[in-house]
Amino acid sequence: MIEEMRRGALANLPVGASVAAYGSVLGMLAAQKGLTWLQLLVMNLSVFAGSAQFVMVEMWAPPLPVVEITLAVLIINMRYLLIGASLNPLFQGKSLVQKAGIMHLVADENWAVTMAAYRNGGATTGFLLGGGICLCSVWSMGTLLGHQLGALVVQPERFALDFAFVAVFTALTVSMWRGKSDIAPWVTAALLAVIAERWLPGKWYIVIGGIGGALLPALQSVFESKKKNLQQLPDKALQKPIGEKTK
């Protein structure tokens, strides 16, 4: 387990560098919004979700809109429902305590790194947890450093720190590529996400793009199995006019 955790932590170090980079941007924003470093640390450890924390800090103005913040976080993090579900094979045979403990430290990055390793046969729950601990540490360090330096870096955009998030997720997306069968779902996902981001409030585009793209091969498979069933029907059934049902 320890060895697996060590491997997971090491595998997440490169991603960790970018996590720290955009964490420092969040820290700077938080300092400007008047969050103390302790509040930021508590947020890091209890919420531990980058994009949601960015939106929280964005909405952070007294009197705090508690209900709106909670709802926004719920929508942005809706993808964790899908991320959690996709980890089901990895958690096969693990106890509820292990599931409940490890799932808290599942972020986009260590999930993606773990799924990529899992496809090559080299990932366990320990690997996932090690990655989570690594990311939570660098995330906290990055945000707190940004909070302290807030006043020093005047324009983080000049150093493209705001692009760190996009860059690292682009690289992570590439590692998910399985072959030509991914072309249609991926194009669909990208198009839906761009359109939804333009026309819908909040972060619905993540869920809409992700589900929309993945539905394509699912529907295809349902369609294929229906066709197969039809071919396997005994002759008697086939003698009935097929058009009858559709009429």
């Binding site: 705090l64 690289a171 699912a218």
Partner: protein, 107 residues
């Protein structure tokens, strides 16, 4: 005094609510998955999902970052594909955006 207390309380509620919402989704997804079918269309759906979620997460960001963003994302993707090195790919992408902004006088 009462204002200070209610502010403190609302901070606790905001962070606590966000934490609870996020954790329920994380664990909920995993526990629900055990009750879902593991074959056919649904299996294909779950197998395709990791890639499409990541892409949906990042596509609008690339799109709205303009030409710099598009070129940088393409270079990042190519670098990640060829070298399998995430850090290097990220630095390449950020470098292109930073250089582009420097040359065109952003913001």
């Amino acid at each position: 005094m009462t204002l200070a207390i209610s502010t403190d309380l609302s901070i606790v509620l905001a962070i606590g609510g966000a934490a609870l919402a996020t954790y329920s989704l994380r664990l909920g997804g995993l526990l629900l998955a055990e009750r879902l079918p593991k074959n056919g269309g649904f299996k294909r759906f779950m197998e395709t999902l990791p890639g499409t979620i990541l892409l949906a997460l990042v596509a609008p960001g690339i799109f709205s970052a303009g030409i710099h963003g598009g070129v940088a994302a393409l270079a990042t993707a190519l670098c990640a594909w060829k070298t399998k090195n995430l850090l290097l790919a990220m630095i390449v992408g950020m470098g292109i955006v930073a250089a582009g902004r420097l040359l065109t006088g952003y913001p």
